[in-house]
Symmetry: C2
């Protein structure tokens, strides 16, 4: 058996190649290419030109190893093809690209241990910071988050945060958004408002539930968690199933406030199929303002999360953290407003 021999044809040009060609030391080449003032204008010009001509490209990897800055950040989300998450990422990318950063994306599939692995892999890859929309609930282990901090890298929690002192956070005002949505339904005359709560081990969903509860209380409606608060997931089929269940149990209700647009659209589909009129018999409000939510008929009311802005702000938090490197890290918390978009699914009165 013969070993395969791979000719490692060097496909890229280094400053040494330029150095040799021009008989100028590598450091001068480096200086010239970095526009260092302490180099003769003519030689600089010469170097820059031959570099271009030789099609030289700076190896960022070497630079990263040398400088300790990779100029890469990692973003960890449940699924990248959810409009909310991809739009957050868009915001991050657009804010960071002008500064020369690259964005690595990771998906957890909503699995906490996959989240851990992703974060470790990102640290291995020497990212300069981590953005996370977590799938780790309030009670679960957060050592992977500690690791990020220990490695002295900024950690920015986006939307799905957890209480974690050393991380910056950007969220929307979930409580207020939910409160407004519920209040709106009450003002439309709804008395028995079902809440699709999603998983309350996440703060965002807990806060939406609390907003719902507070609105009921403030308007003299007794909260009946057993009957009207349903744990769903943020999945279309779950919303459908929840409606099926309510009907099967003969629970009467005149509105649904869903903490997720996906569950909301599931409810919409099922109600429609069952011939239950929206909003006349059941009014409907979702949460997230996903792009598809306004094309149903009736169009569905929803609370906007301004994902693009969340991404941008998250990126800005990262940048301020980077700048104050070395000092004691200050973790900032941004709360964006949650704006209710009222559409036809919840207009009982004109």
């Amino acid at each position: 058996m013969y070993e395969m021999v791979f000719m490692k044809t060097k496909s890229h040009i280094t400053i040494y190649d330029i150095s040799k060609r021009l008989k100028i030391s590598p450091s001068t080449v480096s200086r010239a290419l970095n526009d260092n003032p302490r180099v003769n204008a003519d030689t600089k010009k010469l170097i820059v030109e031959t570099a271009k001509q030789m099609n030289y490209k700076q190896n960022k990897l070497a630079l990263a190893l040398k400088s300790g800055q990779s100029m890469v950040v990692g973003v960890v989300v449940p699924f990248i093809n959810r409009s909310f998450f991809s739009t957050v990422i868009r915001g991050i990318e657009e804010e960071l690209k002008p500064l020369g950063y690259h964005v690595i994306i990771c998906q957890t599939g909503e699995d906490s241990s996959a989240e851990q692995e992703n974060i470790y892999a990102l640290l291995d890859a020497q990212v300069d910071g981590v953005f996370l929309s977590t799938s780790t609930g309030r009670t679960e282990s957060k050592i992977h988050l500690n690791h990020v901090i220990e490695h002295d890298k900024p950690l920015v929690l986006v939307d799905r945060g957890v209480d974690f002192a050393d991380a910056s956070t950007v969220v929307i005002d979930d409580f207020k958004g939910a409160y407004e949505a519920t209040k709106h339904l009450i003002e439309q005359g709804c008395k028995t408002i079902v809440h699709f709560a999603c998983d309350r081990k996440f703060d965002i969903y807990e806060n939406r539930f609390l907003g719902y509860s507070a609105a009921l209380e403030d308007h003299g409606i007794r909260l009946d968690s057993k009957k009207y608060v349903i744990q769903t997931n943020s999945v279309i089929e779950n919303g459908r199933a929840a409606v099926v269940d309510l009907l099967k149990q003969n629970i009467e209700f005149d509105a649904v406030f869903s903490a997720s647009d996906f569950a909301a659209i599931g409810a919409y589909l099922e109600l429609e199929e069952q011939g239950i009129g929206i909003p006349d018999q059941v009014a409907l409000v979702g949460f997230g303002n996903e792009p598809f939510i306004k094309y149903t008929r009736p169009s569905i009311s929803s609370v906007d999360q301004s994902p693009l802005e969340m991404g941008r702000r998250a990126a800005q938090l990262f940048l301020t953290s980077i700048k104050q490197k070395g000092e004691d890290p200050i973790s900032e918390k941004i709360v964006l407003p949650a704006v209710l978009h009222i559409r036809n699914s919840s207009k009982k009165l004109e």
Copy 2:
């Protein structure tokens, strides 16, 4: 003025730290950590354990510099928060993550020169391959694509490809999809079928146009490009404007086949607002099968592009290219089927 002094507190552990602590040479530590057989089982165990205890993490950057493999790929798309693109990326990520690759995402904003810059930046970052859904039309310069090939990195064109010999490609059968969509409309009795063509400098749109034309011809309908083929962009407002224009010009039509779901939904909104019945007065078929397209009422027919599968296949093409490194690169071309999903917007007959 005093210069600020930054104590570069080394936040990470290297094999040298382990080496010193254990008084074992770095090379042995390296070998142990890489599970090299030529190291004593006991020392190996010792090393692995202290590594874990010291919270050692391998610096992939150093490895990348050494090995010439960064284990990072770059994906360049117009916008990451379009469902189609983010789902393609999801497919790529899911296929490549098990092999240890990271995915960097870049957005061009549909701008050809931004695309060039992105690609150069990715090459600087020493990515192992580039996935591209191009914004560069048939007639524009493709030097940036040549650069990728010259650097000996696999280039995979996804969906929006251009003729480029040295790149692998995965597309769907746009011609057939468009043909089927148009044929379906004809079979529903439509005679005057408008085509929203998008930008035909991209092959995908050109092929959709050709499919539309061929279907008309095969069914004895004369193609009237001037009257019925409208250049729109893949944007909701463009679809709206196109309908407004048609009405203003008093052009009669009984169907729209849009090469883009976004333009299609624009048409839907405008037709609805004008009180024009879908499908009775105007039947409607889109292209892309975006998630939102089926929630309108009537639901809109559309040609599916199977973006997840496209992403997966693209990743596989990359992997085969990587394996045959050194040999003459073979560029493969995959054509996935385009499946028409018939919904209520195009059912004139029962």
